[in-house]
């Protein structure tokens, strides 16, 4: 009787050990229906819903070699009625600008500041001190992204293989792109490119993902280069603090 109990215990331990070993497996290369990939991409792209302060360094280099750097300090007050974002923009050649934006729950962006802070930037306008249009910052700050399987796979021959596309669930203004296709790394399953596709089916902007934060405070894209017709823009998260919103 005792030997039987011991064998049962041994089996439990073996199963426990096996489950511990298999607990941290690398992502599957192809998952059933792409559910895991969709979940991972959705988590990566959408904000956490918590207060935080993030410092982003935006380095632009135009095709004629002009280089410019600007820092964006964004403080987020998360709210189910609509997050509030305080922007402070400053660079060597860019004087301090402040901006208050509210991401509306129904979609869209409204102002929450006064005076010059009250201006809502036009999406096609360039972000101060860079060659990046405001629309990329606005959709990054207030956009809710939905990830789905791409219907364009293997139908558009001039594009690299893109299995997924992302679209804005709360599009508030007309974007200059029609869809965003995602190219995944075949080994890690991480996104490598996000391609903004225009009305003619051509790549308007390519966001090349260079670093994704998996540990530490910032879990998301930490470093990316955006290739645009006028040049390249490097965006880097250089500082992050959780729960810093309400106090400011």
């Amino acid at each position: 009787m005792m030997a039987l109990k011991l064998r049962a215990l041994l089996c439990v331990i073996t199963l426990l050990s096996a489950s511990l070993v298999s607990a941290r497996q690398p992502p599957a290369k192809s998952d059933e229906g792409g559910d895991t990939t969709i979940k991972r991409l959705t988590t990566l792209l959408n904000r956490s819903g918590k207060d935080y302060r993030v410092k982003i360094r935006i380095t632009s280099r135009s095709n004629n070699g002009d280089r410019n750097i600007v820092y964006l300090n964004a403080t987020r007050d998360a709210d189910p009625e609509g997050d509030t974002l305080q922007f402070k923009i400053k660079g060597d050649d860019t004087s301090l600008q402040t901006l208050c934006l509210q991401c509306l729950s129904t979609g869209g962006v409204s102002n929450c500041g006064s005076g010059s802070d009250a201006l809502i930037p036009e999406p096609e306008m360039l972000f101060p001190g860079s060659i990046l249009p405001w629309e990329e910052i606005l959709v990054g700050a207030c956009g809710t992204w939905v990830v789905e399987k791409s219907p364009l796979v293997a139908t558009t021959k001039q594009l690299p293989r893109q299995d997924y596309q992302v679209r804005l669930a709360n599009a508030a203004f007309e974007n200059s792109w029609v869809s965003t296709l995602v190219t995944l790394d075949t080994d890690s399953g991480d996104p490598v490119y996000f391609d903004r596709i225009d009305h003619h089916g051509m790549i308007l902007r390519r966001i090349k993902v260079l670093e994704i934060g998996r540990t530490g405070s910032w879990r998301g894209i930490r470093r990316a280069i955006i290739e645009i017709p006028d040049g390249r823009v490097l965006m880097e998260v250089v500082g992050f603090r959780k729960g810093a919103g309400k106090s400011h």
Partner: protein, 379 residues
């Protein structure tokens, strides 16, 4: 063999060898599973210890006693303080020297990150030799460490792009430590311009007079912090404790080590309980022959200890191989470290072995103590 009989006068060793050799597969499974579990834990502990020891070697070679940085920064690399503080620090009695440096992780044109140190004019770090003459770097020029050069396939004479700015590699620099050989050195003003960090630095490295007492050292630290409320002085040990990478690897390593040690205890305990239950009659015969319960228990404890020790030795080797492989991987993230076996690692291994053997033997010993002499007569 007479010496063996003398050593093993009670026959304990012979009985242990006999027990293990009668169940070789069971012993092998126990040893290998514990060895793999301990090897995993030792890998993590080894990586954190090596990272810390390598960085520590770097500070020691620069004779850094204290580091001045921005207060309230959870990630020390994001510290930014005015470069003018360096002159104020140098004026304080007891300070032998102070060096300012701006450090940032920049993007190379091969899409990988690299640490770049910016040094002010006049520092030997931004000088190189050409035809016996010492020349200081010009704007747009960098020096490269040999590890960084081999990892990124870069050589002097090449032009590289750093955060979308163009730079020419002029020469190699002789690094003070293995960690620094994985970085680039450039002029402070170049790095400030490249990252829009005008007139700021990340750290000020401070060397103190060697004859300072502990109390005057604390007083001096307070004096330095009094220059400006934004400043925080830390010792190199405190800095390493705060470093996110080493702290997270260290923490994770200890958790894995403890979890794997618990798993090892469960494995060895189960194996030994099985062994004791199968050898009940044999152990009862020993009791009937006059062996005390303590001596029979000692037999079980020693057998557990033998298995745990063999497993620890194999686990240590697995840990060493794992540590070297992990550090090669860590290099691809831009962190350079030698694989260093420290006394602390060996202590962790030794303590784990003793703990696994002692606790793992508790349950089998409990079963052993319940064996009566009458069981020797049962079939």
């Amino acid at each position: 063999m007479s010496w063996f009989r003398q050593v093993d006068q009670y026959g304990l060793v012979s009985l242990i060898i006999d027990s293990i050799s009668c169940r070789p597969l069971r012993a092998l499974i126990a040893v290998l599973s514990i060895a793999v579990a301990m090897g995993g834990g030792m890998t993590m502990v080894g990586v954190s210890e090596s990272l810390e020891a390598t960085v520590q070697q770097g500070y020691a070679s620069r004779q850094v006693d204290l580091m001045l940085m921005q207060a309230n920064k959870s990630n020390p690399m994001t510290s930014r303080i005015s470069e003018t503080f360096v002159d104020q620090v140098r004026k304080i009695d007891g300070v032998q020297g102070a060096q300012a440096a701006l450090i940032d992780s920049l993007l190379l044109d091969n899409d990988s990150g690299i640490l770049v140190y910016g040094w002010p004019p006049g520092y030997q770090e931004i000088s190189y030799r050409q035809g016996g003459e010492v020349i200081e770097l010009q704007q747009g020029q960098v020096l490269i460490g040999r590890t960084a050069a081999s990892l990124h396939d870069l050589t002097p004479g090449k032009t590289i792009e750093l955060n979308l700015g163009d730079f020419e590699i002029i020469d190699f620099f002789e690094a003070n430590s293995f960690f620094e050989s994985g970085v680039l050195f450039m002029r402070l003003d170049d790095l400030q311009q490249l990252t829009s960090a005008r007139e700021t630095v990340t750290f000020i490295f401070i060397n103190l007079d060697q004859d300072l007492t502990e109390s005057s050292r604390w007083q001096l630290m307070e004096e330095i912090e009094a220059i400006n409320p934004i400043l925080k002085v830390v010792t190199t040990e405190e800095f390493l404790q705060k470093n996110q990478l080493t702290a997270s690897v260290r923490g994770l390593g200890r958790i894995i080590l403890v979890a794997n040690a618990l798993l090892s205890i469960l494995i060895i305990s189960t194996i030994m309980v099985l062994t004791v239950s199968e050898r009940r009659q044999e152990l009862a015969v020993l009791r009937a022959m006059g062996w005390s319960a303590t001596r029979v228990s000692m037999l079980v404890l020693l057998e557990t200890a033998v298995l745990a020790t063999v497993a620890a030795l194999i686990g240590g080797l697995i840990g060493l191989v794992g540590m070297k492989a992990s550090l090669i991987y860590v290099q691809t993230l831009g962190v350079y470290s030698q694989s260093i076996v420290t006394l602390q690692q060996i202590m962790w291994l030794g303590i784990s072995t003793v703990v696994i053997a002692t606790i793992g033997a508790a349950l089998p010993i409990y079963f052993t103590l319940n064996i009566t002499t009458s069981e020797a007569l049962r079939k």
